[in-house]
Symmetry: C2
Subunit: 360 residues, 2 copies
């Protein structure tokens, strides 16, 4: 495929900070950007040439959007599949509706992963309280009940410490289709991001170690400080899933490192990922530029680490410390998302710290 | 000064590629950007929240612009000084009208430099053909006649190889106020960019070696490959001029390296400069981020080289090679400006090549 020419227009579904950083990466490569979002004052709109402000199911708006762009990609995985299929009839959409259908549904996603011979947490799809009781008997406790759709940052989850909590958990999540996940005895949370281009080229970013706070990513660190064999296995998993899913774009793979050294896939996200933000300052190519390269037909960029790094998320009121943190440490690279209001739990920005090289 | 809070608005006068890259740097720090430009479809507007499309002398538009921003900076040095003074009555403008008045006028600029005890090419201000004839007799040929105002990229210049060309040169430049510059026997063209913040903090970027083609910058290289003493003298010159000019923002200083190892100042530009584009990929802080830090009250960032680098400008039709050049070399970092039409001599983008470290 000939790459999209300079000044072509990239459509991005979703207007959050991931879309903002994708848009800036696209602009850096000379592309114009058109954001589709239902959200007023979206962070991505502030840095983009055009915005369509409409519901994801508004077919008139989708048709106008499709007519104004050369390719569509996304920063948000919960775009209705029907909308993606509608767009696909008018313009290339990457990643495509097939992969999105898998990753929008926890049970489908885990089945897809297992079908590639890759481990996940043990799980049961749950459609009723009796099914939940049955699943708890099979998987034991502790276990986590998660809605099949639309969960993120710990939302739509309930930790069950005993089978007696079944009714409470089922009630709390609203009686919708769920997945019960069995306990995984992990020693670290890791993630790996893989890019696959229109031409089928694959590039994997270095493995990252993540720490969460209140179910929200707090810190990511590279190198991950795990044995090479673990990093190699993570890369193999990422490549396998990218190929099997016929990915064009980015796929973030969240992994548990188990006590026995094995890896289990936790979640997939077919888009740039918070745990890859360090790539903006410490990698030969940022995840955002890679996402744009993948869908425009450009060659993928090299993904080697240029410096050990540590990413700190700025959540809610943390943003008020941003300037002090920047002043305190010359290696700090500050990224803020232009959000005026620092609501609790809201991702306001991040800082990448470059660390001295040395033994991991 | 307390730094401007996140989501404050930065006004930028000028809508070209320098404004585009400043705008993206500001967005990365969470600021909103409002561009003031007389140019439709300006590259900077494509990546900015707001644009005022108006003549620089339109005081109604300037007043509305001033009311909508927290600070004004610029990417283009030839903003009418009256407009800057008008804005300064409503909002902080950095760099201020005083420094702009100096750098907009070649004779004033050279006198300012010499007043700091720093050498320039020998020159004479010229207001008439008889004055030009007299100046040629004093400075000899070859010599270059340049309009005092509004020249860039070789425009508004005439090279005189003999005194007989006086009338032709005077005619060619339209009979306006000019400066005649005497011959400088230089061995290299260098440049250095200095930042000075609201708080008076100063940071100097590494010295850069430049090659021009058809009067337009073609290649910049760092390190510049000159003795340390030359680099130190360039830094001293930059600091001296920044302090003397009461700079807040960036000042680019173009220098001639003479055969005897001495430096002469060629031109000043109180803004980001094409010869600093390599800082986007090979410096701890990019010149664009530094420009934003300087005017928002943030601490200046570190300016050390992170890799030897070579910047290649993409002029006019060069842009059609951009994707092939990117594919050919993994260390290439491509930047395009979103311009649809590749007119001859038009700056369409640049590529930063990261070079292996080694002896300079």
């Amino acid at each position: 495929m000939t790459p999209l020419p300079p000044a072509a227009t990239i459509g991005i579904l979703g207007g959050g900070q991931l879309g903002r950083m994708m848009s800036m990466a696209a602009s850096r490569l000379g592309y114009h950007v058109h954001i589709f979002t239902p959200e007023e004052d979206a962070p991505a709109s502030e840095v983009s040439l055009a915005t369509t402000l409409a519901d994801y199911r508004d077919e008139d708006a989708l048709a106008r959007f499709a007519a104004s762009v050369d390719v569509v990609t996304l920063e948000f995985e919960n775009i209705p599949v029907e909308s993606l299929c509608f767009l696909e009839r008018h313009v290339p959409v990457m990643p495509g509706a097939n992969l999105m259908e898998v990753t929008q549904h926890r049970a489908n996603e885990k089945s897809f992963v297992q079908a590639q011979g890759i481990a996940t947490a043990p799980f049961r799809a749950v459609h009723s309280l009796p099914e939940l009781v049955h699943a708890l008997a099979e998987l034991g406790t502790p276990a986590i009940l998660k809605t099949s759709r639309l969960g993120y940052d710990g939302k739509g989850q309930f930790l069950l410490r005993s089978p007696e909590q079944a009714a409470e958990a089922w009630e709390a999540l609203g009686g919708v289709e769920c997945v019960l996940e069995g306990f995984v005895d992990f020693t670290a949370e890791l993630s790996v991001i893989v890019a696959r281009s229109v031409a089928g080229e694959v590039a994997v970013f270095p493995l990252t170690r993540n720490e969460h706070r209140h179910h929200i990513l707090h810190i990511s660190a590279v190198p991950a400080g795990v044995p090479d064999s673990v990093a190699q296995e993570a890369e193999r998993i990422a490549r396998t899933l990218a190929e099997a899913g016929d990915l064009v774009g980015l796929l973030a793979v969240e992994l548990f490192l188990c006590r026995d050294g094995s890896l289990k896939v936790n979640e997939l996200a077919p888009r740039p990922h918070n745990s890859g933000h360090w790539t903006m300052d410490a990698c030969a190519t940022s995840q955002f530029q890679q996402a744009i390269r993948a869908v425009t037909g450009l060659p993928l960029g090299p993904t080697h680490l240029t410096s050990p790094a540590r990413m700190l998320n700025l959540i809610g009121d943390d943003v008020h410390q941003a300037h002090a943190l920047l002043a305190a440490e010359p290696t700090a690279r500050l990224h803020l998302y232009g959000k005026a209001e620092a609501r609790p739990g809201r991702k306001m920005g991040h800082i990448n710290y470059l660390l001295p090289s040395g033994p991991a």
